[in-house]
Each structure stands twice: as C-alpha cells, then as structure tokens.
Subunit: 163 residues, 2 copies
Amino acid sequence: MTEATPDRRGGRQLPTADELRIWRDFIETTAALGSRLESRLQSDSSLSTGDYAVLLALSEAQGQAMRSSELASHIGWERSRLSHHLGRMERRGLIRRQECATVPRGAEVLLTAAGAEAFKGATFPHLRAIRELFVDALTPDQVVAAGEIATALSAHLDALRAE
Amino acid sequence: MTEATPDRRGGRQLPTADELRIWRDFIETTAALGSRLESRLQSDSSLSTGDYAVLLALSEAQGQAMRSSELASHIGWERSRLSHHLGRMERRGLIRRQECATVPRGAEVLLTAAGAEAFKGATFPHLRAIRELFVDALTPDQVVAAGEIATALSAHLDALRAE
DNA sequence: ACCTACCAGTTGACATGTCAATGATGCTAA
DNA sequence: TTAGCATCATTGACATGTCAACTGGTAGGT
C-alpha cells in the first residue's frame, strides 16, 4: 500500500480538500433529499418511507403476504428493525401477523385492507414527489450519471464487506 | 402545466421505470454509505457523525466556543435537535454549556479537553474512511459528477422551499 | 406602565434505528 | 438420546430525530 508518490491515487491516505468538499455536499444533500421525500410522503399520506417500503413489498407479493425474514431481506432491513416496525404498523392496522403453517417459527406478514388502501392512496403522490424533487432537479445526463454513481458505490461497499 | 405530449419532460407527472430504478438505487445506496461511515466512525472513535459535526465546528471556532443557535445554523440542524444532542454530549463530557455574558438568554457551547481529544483522535480514521468508502469507489470523473449532482439537487431543493 | 409579539433555548411525547440478549424450534453429531 | 448449535423472530435498553408546547427575557407600540 505504501508508495513513493503519496499524491497519486492509491498512494494517498486522505481525501483532498476538493474531494472532501464534494463528499460533504453529496452526503448532506442526499440526506436532505431523503428527509424532504419523507415529509412529503408523511403529509400526503400519513405513511413513512419505511411504511411505504413494507407496503410496496407486500402489495407485490403472492397473496399479499410474506414471511418476515423474506420481507426483511427483500427490502434490505435487519430483522430486529423490521420486527419493531411491523409492531408499529400492526398497531395502526396496516398489516397483520400470524403463525406460518409451512415454516416452523416463521411468521407471516399479511397486508390488511386498510394497508392496501393506504398504499394505493400514497403511490401517486409519492412518485410525483420523486419526480419533482429528484428527476426534475437533474439533466437527463445527470440522472444517468447518478445511476452509475450509485452502482459504483454499491459495488464498492459490497466488495469491502466481502473482504 | 398540462401539455399535449405527456411523455416529454415537463408534461409528465410520474417518473419513468428507468428513473424510478435509478432513484431507488441512488437513495438506498447513499443511505447505506452514510450508515457505513457512521459505524466506521463509531468503532474507530466512539463518536457519531453528529458528534463529529459538532466537535468539528467547535474546534474551528474562535475560542473553541459558539453560541448554540449559531452552531445550529452552521451545521444546518434544528435548534431542538441540537439541544437534545448537546445534552447527550454534555453527559459524556465532550462539551460544556454556560450562560452567555454578551447575549441575553444565549447559551455558549464550549469544547472540553476531552472533547478536543476525542475529535483529534477521530479525524484521521474518519477522513480515511471517507476516502475508502466514497472516493475510492468512483473514478475522478464520477467524483466531479457527484459534486455537480449534489449542487443541482441542493439548488433545486432550495428553489422549491422558496416557493 | 402594559400588552403583545418575538426570540433563544429547553423539554416532553413519540417515531425510528441499532445492538445485544432472549425465547422457541429444528438439525446434527457424539 | 441428548447436548450443542444454527435459525427465526421478538424484546429491552438506549441513541437519535421531529414536532409542538413551554420558559424567560427583550423590544415596540399604545
């Protein structure tokens, strides 16, 4: 890892001032974008983006039901996070849980009528907000670039995790 | 707003399937990136990124002290969020609060020796993590593009807020 | 002086997230 | 058989974030 040319890529430990400024802009702006989407969804439909992710997965599932751990890996959450979240959603009547007949200790998560209704009402305003806050902010080239950046970052994170 | 060509930009309400896929990749990846940085910082230094932001601002401030609301606007936090966070940091001995002599009702936030020490120890591993997780994942062109995307998104969010 | 409006900061209630520990159950190897 | 061991899901403790209400003090208009 140590090299004779410490300011070349691969031989440098720390980001340059420019890279650091870009990092800060990037991470703060994406966080702000996420929370704007969150509050738009909240005021349009009284759902959080977490609720929406769960309802979306269940809506698309066979029989509008999934095993808990299947759901967790589908939306990329830890099981404990999902379990807490499902408890809150169950209290609000958006989903139901019941023992799974086929899998020992498995819990089935079911979409309720109220949950399906809430999801249906939330979808259009949510997609519109994505367009207004994200797509409309960028040129078509920038949208493509954003996709490539996300792909590169994601692959890099996976590669580091695998080490 | 209504136009005769609903699939042209400006006449379309909803994102295309491609745009939506890119949106999901983008927002999920940036969130994952943030939480990886968070956990790296946590294990390297027992600080959160919130702690780090506060300590960074105080370290760079005159006399290593700032008024609470000045600090809040400097790092872009709501006052209540900062107040809660300062309470937690004060319990851990990283900062101190005292009445401000010059401003009525103003609270001064002071960096303690332990806080300065913690910040000093955290900086190098944190910057190294930014390089490893973000800069190293992208080509130089992509880093520049990420900066431009952040700038465009940020400007767009500001413009929408101003409406 | 008095009423009002604002300002800085705190607080409480609650939603959300992580981590570690705990049940409950099946699998496997001595 | 049974003693470990992995798996599925939940739980509790706690950190973090938002929102709205509150506290105390200052300033302006009448």
